[in-house]
């Protein structure tokens, strides 16, 4: 009974994080992006600086009609948002934010996280195909092409901290972390973060949803709640990427008073990385398809391989 209760508590915490953190990131993006562009962003919903804008959006989305195009493949079209969103929820269960504060510690945590994150892209592909819309199909195509460019450096860069910590357990990696990792794991950190951005289709890698060319890429035909789920998936993806970057490269809960304030350190670091994601969206223009492939195969993969060589040398040296 106690076990079941504890399990329920953990699940509620994970679910709460999944529902709240993406909203926080979204609201931050509203305001930070606006101010970075010398605007003020939403100001009305909720009174103080539009803090309730996303809640209002959610209420609106929930009430909007769900239009399924006549030409679309109905079942796949309806299922796609769920396939895009649920993997990020599942990933969150394995990410530790404090010592012992984790949905479920898995021995193979890192690999689990990478594998499940890869599933999410299927939802976007399904949306792209099932919409029976030219924009959507082109967007889906670009998603797949982008995935092919970035999944590899993403995975390669993720191996590096696991090698340094000699474990695939995410908590284990955080516990083995030392501040000097920030220096010698820096190439891996950069590759991981950039490839992760591309995986999430965040600007500057938002070619699949490039609004000036493809309307909204694979999500063009979506309305109402299903559209909202895709957006939620995107922001949950930012949270997951930020959390993974934190756990793998930035030392997770490590910091002064880690025993008491570990979770606060984690959340702070996650917030900073998420802010960087938003910042990059404002500052960097979209990359072209060929630039994307070139960056991946001629910069990120070699850097990641170099990082692996460096890490293995240091690891063996230290015995």
């Amino acid at each position: 009974m106690a076990d079941a209760l504890e399990l329920a508590l953990r699940l509620v915490l994970v679910l709460g994080a999944f529902l709240v953190l993406p909203l926080l990131v979204g609201q931050t993006e509203h305001k930070v992006m606006a101010h970075m562009q010398s605007r003020v962003g939403p100001m009305y919903a909720g009174g103080f600086h539009g803090w309730a804008q996303l809640i209002a959006d959610g209420v609106k989305f929930a009430q909007k009609e769900d239009v399924v195009p006549a030409a679309a493949d109905g079942a796949v079209f309806r299922l796609a948002p769920a396939v895009a969103m649920v993997p990020y929820l599942v990933v969150l269960v394995a990410i530790p934010i404090g010592p012992g504060l984790v949905g479920q510690e898995l021995d193979i945590g890192l690999f689990f996280v990478l594998a499940v994150m890869g599933v999410g892209v299927l939802g976007t592909l399904m949306a792209g195909w099932a919409s029976a819309n030219k924009y959507s199909l082109l967007g889906g195509m670009r998603v797949a092409a982008q995935l092919m460019a970035y999944e590899l450096p993403f995975v390669l860069a993720a191996v590096s901290p696991a090698m340094a910590a000699r474990t695939l357990s995410l908590s284990g990696i955080v516990e083995a972390w030392e501040p000097w990792w920030l220096i010698w794991q820096l190439p891996g950190l950069v590759v991981f973060f950039v490839a992760g951005l591309a995986e999430l289709q965040r600007p500057p890698f938002d070619m699949p949803v490039a609004d000036s060319e493809l309307v909204f890429g694979p999500y063009t035909e979506y309305t109402g709640l299903r559209f909202a789920l895709f957006l939620l998936a995107e922001y949950a993806g930012i949270v997951v990427l930020a959390a993974l970057t934190t756990v793998l490269f930035l030392g997770g809960w490590q910091g002064p008073f880690a025993d008491q304030l570990g979770w606060l350190w984690s959340l702070t670091k996650i917030g900073v990385v998420a802010l960087l994601v938003v910042w990059l969206r404002v500052a960097v223009p979209r990359l072209r398809a060929d630039q994307l492939q070139r960056l991946a195969w001629q910069a990120l993969v070699p850097i990641a391989l170099f990082q692996l060589a460096l890490t293995s040398a240091v690891g063996v040296w230290n015995g």
């Binding site: 021995d107 594998a115 999944e151 995975v155």
Partner: protein
């Protein structure tokens, strides 16, 4: 029957059922998506058998890479969105018989090879990444290196084929 056994049966049934749908559905992309379910259920089976690492490899490589590649290939070809009638030929019976025989051979081989083997799953994860690494890098280094040659051959072959003519190709690995 234990919960694990029950779950295993469920996963197995899912794998077989969705595999049947893969070959019977008339829409190409649907069959690729049912393949996702099949492979996912298979990963579940691996997981229940204690092969933790292999299960997630199954998800990462097959669901995340191969199926995406497959969908990508389907999108690139002339596959229409609608139902394709020309996919099913009259050789149903022969095909079923062939599949049955191949399945039988496989089951026989596996049973003959590992029929009596028992692995205790619950005490220590036998299929964890560490034990896999130990096994590969202590005992099975040569097959591991040979695998790289196989992958190289696949890569070179794919490049040669796709340079020859713009073919949509099959999966290499």
């Amino acid at each position: 029957m234990s919960v694990v056994g029950l779950l295993f049966l469920l996963m197995g049934a899912m794998a077989v059922g969705s595999a049947l749908l893969v070959v019977t559905t008339a829409r190409l992309v649907h069959s690729a998506l049912w393949l996702v379910v099949t492979l996912g259920a298979l990963a579940g089976c691996y997981l229940l058998l204690g092969a933790e690492f292999v299960a997630w490899v199954q998800i990462l490589i097959y669901v995340g890479a191969v199926v995406v590649l497959l969908l990508f290939a389907l999108m690139l070809t002339r596959a229409p969105t609608g139902v394709q009638t020309g996919l099913t030929t009259g050789n149903r019976v022969v095909a079923a018989a062939t599949a049955g025989v191949v399945g039988l051979v496989l089951v026989t081989v596996v049973v003959a090879g590992f029929g009596g083997a028992r692995v205790s799953v619950d005490e220590e994860s036998v299929g964890s990444a560490t034990s896999m690494g130990d096994a590969i890098f202590r005992h099975w280094v040569l097959p591991f290196e040979v695998l790289s040659v196989l992958l190289l051959a696949a890569l070179v072959g794919a490049i040669v084929l796709s340079r020859g003519r713009a073919s949509s190709g099959e999966e290499t690995p």
